[in-house]
Symmetry: C2
Subunit: 314 residues, 2 copies
């Protein structure tokens, strides 16, 4: 356990991952209310909305309205997600903290099925975004390899493929003279297990020892917290997570959909292991309860039901 | 990860842990149906009922009826739980596979609150049970230290206290010339986190290197699978678990009591990590769905919603 980080950075994605999944419409004011509550917990970065095609993701049709309504708090970054230049341009029209992103799926089949393009074409398409970022002096801070552990179409992804994709992303950044501050490995569809986490991180580290890595985990098959532990044991200090485990509802008949790793459960585990997260667990629990109230059905987070141990200690 | 076991033994406790917690009455026939389905999954040991005071645990008033109704399957052990000699004598009147057990809480306060006796008095009371076992040639195969990681009354339990309790249990067994085949450390009320798991296992191992250890984990605060991973990494090859994550401790003293670690989720993680469990995941998923249907409300298991990866690979 000697590689455990001393401090972990949690990138809250509940409002974006969660609300885009909900079947019923969520009031824009409720989205804003949750985002503002999350910003009071000590979280430093909150992904609020996604600027995607409202035809494909109706739950995000109010992205601009939500982004404009947030009363921002000093020291918190309010981010958004997009998948192409058009989305990024929409995002730039809002008061969100906009940064450039590059992302590629480890699975070629996943890319073709979801974006209608193979890896090479998708990488090429991102040249347009990167050129735009360079031209407008927008920092490129997020890079991700999605489906990094497996894909429902292609099966398990081996570490060598992850290394190849990282190499392609680094090459792309290099074309524009950009450094890569942090690379995320995303278990997009819930294939990861601890050995695969160790294997992928180990392979990337061996090739690029100085590259900072983060994990984006889903609890599709119940392994998210174990996968996070393996990440922590390998020194990973950056995790995407979602308040209350938003991002899928195993209790509402969305078969197979499961949320991101739950922010307050992960923060609880870190804090109890002596790893600083900078967040107030009690305030996070209140956010999780608010999220549950907003979506109107149970969410998978556990800590919000059991309460912290700190409360029992005092 | 070099200490990962090659094979893990799962002791299914869903029928006992789960049904004793349910608010509404569960039909005895449904309990039998689930137990018989579980026995067809490859699980080798199923804790079916508890022989406790029906006044305190009304859901187990039909323990004898359930035990007598099970059509037993070759190669499967059907066990029961009891807390005193009277309970054990009830169990012996049924066709269950009865073995002796000793158990002590690491927390003195927990013992006093729940059993009205301190550690010394509870150990003494178990002399009667052990004497009875020796007299009737009943093997004593289960020994547990409960609340081994913390207690809502006493707070965190340190590894030194666990070592002391193990020493007391070993001393008790030794008085009767009995070996201790396996010792379980139980996170009865959900205080464990991976560092505490490592610390307790490490301390017990250091003192008794040859003593086989098992873990009994609850997912009260979302850390059960991470705790299990830490156990696996330390070579633990025996886990109690509950189908669909059924269960909770009726004495936990707070509304947030959550179920045992989920059998099929744990089995899935083990199998994906190359650790043999001997169970058929698809059959286990069917059991989890049956359990949910029987209790009439959603249960926390994840794999039963997402399905196995093996199914996607083929």
């Amino acid at each position: 356990m000697s590689d455990l980080p001393r401090r972990v950075h949690l990138h809250e994605e509940g409002p974006r991952e969660g609300f885009q999944m909900e079947a019923g419409p969520i009031a824009s004011a409720d989205k804003v209310r949750l985002i503002e509550a999350l910003a009071r917990t000590g979280l430093r970065e909150i992904q609020c909305v996604s600027f995607v095609n409202p035809g494909r993701v109706p739950g995000m049709a109010d992205a601009e309205l939500v982004a404009q309504s947030i009363r921002k708090r000093q020291g918190v970054r309010y981010t958004g997600l997009w998948l192409n230049l058009r989305g990024m341009q929409r995002a730039l029209g809002t008061p969100l903290d906009i940064e450039g992103t590059v992302s590629i799926s480890a699975s070629e089949a996943f890319s073709v099925r979801n974006y209608g393009k193979g890896t090479a074409a998708l990488l090429d398409a991102q040249r347009t975004t990167l050129a735009f970022c360079v031209e407008h002096a927008i920092a490129v801070t997020r890079a991700s390899v999605t489906t990094a552990f497996g894909c429902n179409l292609e099966g398990a992804i081996c570490a060598a493929t992850v290394v190849e994709r990282v190499s392609q992303l680094l090459g792309l950044m290099d074309e524009f003279g950009l450094p890569l501050p942090i690379l995320r490995l995303a278990d997009t569809v819930g294939w990861a297990q601890p050995n695969a986490i160790a294997s992928a991180i180990g392979a990337v580290r061996e090739r690029w020892p100085a590259l900072r890595l983060g994990l984006h985990l889903h609890d599709t098959r119940g392994t998210a917290m174990a996968n996070a532990l393996m990440g922590l044991q390998m020194g990973i200090d950056t995790f995407d997570s979602a308040c209350a485990g938003l991002g899928g509802c195993p209790f509402a008949g969305h078969t197979g959909a499961a949320g991101n790793i739950c922010t307050e459960d992960l923060a609880f585990m870190c804090e109890e292991m002596g790893i600083d997260t900078g967040v107030d667990l009690e305030a996070l629990i209140e956010c999780a309860r608010l999220a549950e109230q907003i979506v109107g059905h149970p969410l998978p987070g556990k800590l919000m039901r059991a309460g912290t141990l700190e409360r029992l200690r005092h």
